[in-house]
């Protein structure tokens, strides 16, 4: 089932000025309910514009955005209610923290929604747990935390709304490998346990391969390719033509195939290639 859909969406910045720029051109794309969809493309491909359209931060110049089949701009005055249903975590979200304590900052969205203090308290501690923040941190000032912890606080500040759709623009940018894996793991788990639709923008093909069910590739303001992760990665030529990098382990697998060794399976993750080689050696897929 399609949860969130863009229909024939075009967006132009600074129309009729010398700075006019078309960011999106007749984009049609649907995001499947309950799945993790990866969105990938170079800087300037229109990703950021598309992402800000999903929760009504940008109103498309042309076309419609449908949430559960309903146009989110039907009543422009009520666009705020859409933002509670479609949570958006921007790039480097730790810069948005402002409140005295971590707990208050995470609860900001709920206070905006008008929740009572009891509910706020309960949901804040649940959101903090979702991203692995210890309860002791809730009474600290967000400005006393490390960069990685601040990132989690900012993400919790969006998760606290328990959005049906969670959109994240490069949630792991600048983190070291362990921090990366932790954050992406938390997000995947949030999606699974809440039945939420997750849309993950990333520059990393490795992340796409590992964490996403579906992948959308954007290029020059248009959808270049979309499908299940397996479909997208099985056509590696198409990815390379779009100037995208394929995961390193996939390059090795492709090289081996080219040298005449038949490998099959999920050749875009380390585990997938490992199992494929073990099968080729007749050792079975498991250890």
């Amino acid at each position: 089932m399609i949860k969130l859909e863009l229909k024939d969406v075009t967006h132009v910045y600074g129309a009729r000025t010398p700075f006019e720029k078309t960011a999106l051109r007749s984009v049609n794309i649907g995001f499947e309910s309950g799945l993790v969809t990866g969105l990938i493309g170079h800087t300037g491909s229109g990703k950021s514009t598309l992402v800000q359209m999903l929760n009504g931060l940008i109103r498309p110049t042309k076309g419609t955005v449908l949430l559960d089949g309903k146009d989110i701009w039907e009543k422009p005055k009520e666009i705020r209610s859409v933002r509670f249903r479609v949570g958006l975590v921007m790039q480097y979200p730790e810069y948005q923290l402002f409140d005295e304590t971590v707990g208050k900052d995470i609860g900001f969205a709920l206070r905006n929604k008008g929740c009572d203090p009891e509910t706020v308290k309960e949901k804040v501690s649940r959101a903090a747990e979702c991203v692995g923040l210890s309860p002791a941190l809730l009474s600290k000032s967000p400005f006393d935390l490390s960069g990685g912890q601040r990132r989690r606080v900012a993400i919790a500040g969006v998760l606290v709304m328990e959005p049906e759709v969670l959109v994240l623009d490069e949630p792991a940018a600048g983190l070291d490998p362990r921090g990366r894996a932790e954050i992406l793991g938390y997000l995947r788990r949030y999606g699974e346990s809440n039945g939420a639709t997750v849309i993950l923008v990333s520059h990393s093909m490795e992340d796409m391969a590992q964490y996403c069910d579906r992948v959308v590739v954007m290029r020059d303001g248009e959808i270049y390719a979309s499908g299940t992760t397996e479909e997208i990665f099985s056509d590696s030529d198409r990815l390379i033509r779009a100037g995208m990098d394929v995961p390193e382990v996939m390059k090795i697998a492709l090289e081996l195939k080219q040298r005449g060794y038949p490998l099959d399976g999920k050749l875009y993750t380390v585990e997938g290639v490992r199992d494929a080689i073990l099968r080729a050696l007749g050792k079975g897929g498991n250890r």
Partner: protein, 289 residues
């Protein structure tokens, strides 16, 4: 060749005022860097790798131990302003956030900033700007405003600003962390070029393995201590300690490691795609196993 930078039992504590317990960021780090080396310093967030960079460019002074830079010894007592000035013209720094290190509203005037501070004559500054912008491939943007450039372009302008001062060594303090893949490639390509063609000493602090793999030597820092120090293929083939300190091995190395856990006998020290493919070909064709 004697070393250009040498640290001896270098230790640095943060805080410790108001009776609080100080936090040890670096402890007993001794290493030697020769002129012309291309070194990657790897470590997880908070490992102390950036602290090391700050000590080498005299933004911080050691709590204990000493650093010798091109014959000049830096001790916990610090140095005079003139001595600091002399060292800083030998060691340039490029920082993480491309927005927070450009001073001027026009690219070439930003590149001029360092040479102006050195008090060089106008003609000399002009020549250095042109050469520096050529080196980083940004000559055509000389009259552009920095805020209109991409992240990678801004970092290349920052690099030009440093090379226009003609230092012997450049330290890149996580200069690729905030860039997209294209920007990262632009910056690492520039580093490699500066090292190979201009013989400049490069210290690249990063947590991206594939960038570190391009260096001649990799130093892994964890909890303020040097954990490993060697050629990339030596360091990366030790998958377990890497993972234990929050890092990872390149995917190819990881694949070989996983396969060896499954009972395949494979050599270590393979990191590039073609090396890994060669090794696996031997395995699949039955020459190994």
């Amino acid at each position: 060749m004697s070393s250009f930078i040498e640290t001896r039992h270098l230790t640095l504590d943060y805080g410790g005022e108001n009776g609080e317990r100080p936090i040890r960021a670096l402890s007993d780090v001794s290493l030697s860097i020769k002129e012309g080396e291309y070194i990657a310093i790897l470590g997880h967030n908070g490992s102390g790798k950036s602290t090391l960079a700050k000590l080498l460019d005299l933004i911080l002074f050691p709590t204990a131990g000493e650093i010798e830079i091109d014959g000049k010894v830096v001790t916990p007592e610090g140095l005079s302003d003139d001595e600091i000035f002399e060292i800083r013209r030998k060691i340039g720094m490029v920082f993480q956030n491309p927005d927070n290190q450009l001073v001027a509203t026009v690219v070439e005037e930003d590149v001029a900033f360092g040479p102006e501070n050195l008090g060089l004559p106008r003609e000399e500054i002009r020549a250095r700007i042109d050469a520096a912008l050529d080196t980083v491939g940004m000559r055509e943007y000389a009259r552009h405003a920095p805020h209109k450039l991409s992240g990678g372009q801004k970092q290349r302008v920052a690099i030009a600003g440093v090379i226009a001062m003609m230092p012997k060594c450049i330290i890149f303090d996580e200069s690729t962390a905030m860039l997209d893949p294209r920007g990262r490639r632009e910056v690492t390509d520039t580093m490699e070029k500066l090292n190979r063609e201009n013989g400049m000493t490069i210290l690249h602090i990063t947590h991206y393995m594939e960038e570190a793999a391009r260096a001649d030597r990799v130093i892994v820092i964890s909890d303020g201590k040097i954990l490993m120090d060697g050629a990339p293929r030596e360091v990366f083939s030790r998958v377990e300690p890497l993972v234990a300190c929050g890092l990872e091995a390149p995917q190819g190395t990881e694949l070989l490691y996983e396969l060896s856990l499954c009972g395949c006998s494979l050599p270590s020290g393979r990191i590039t795609v073609s090396e890994c493919a060669d090794t696996l070909e031997e395995l699949l064709s039955g020459k190994r196993g």
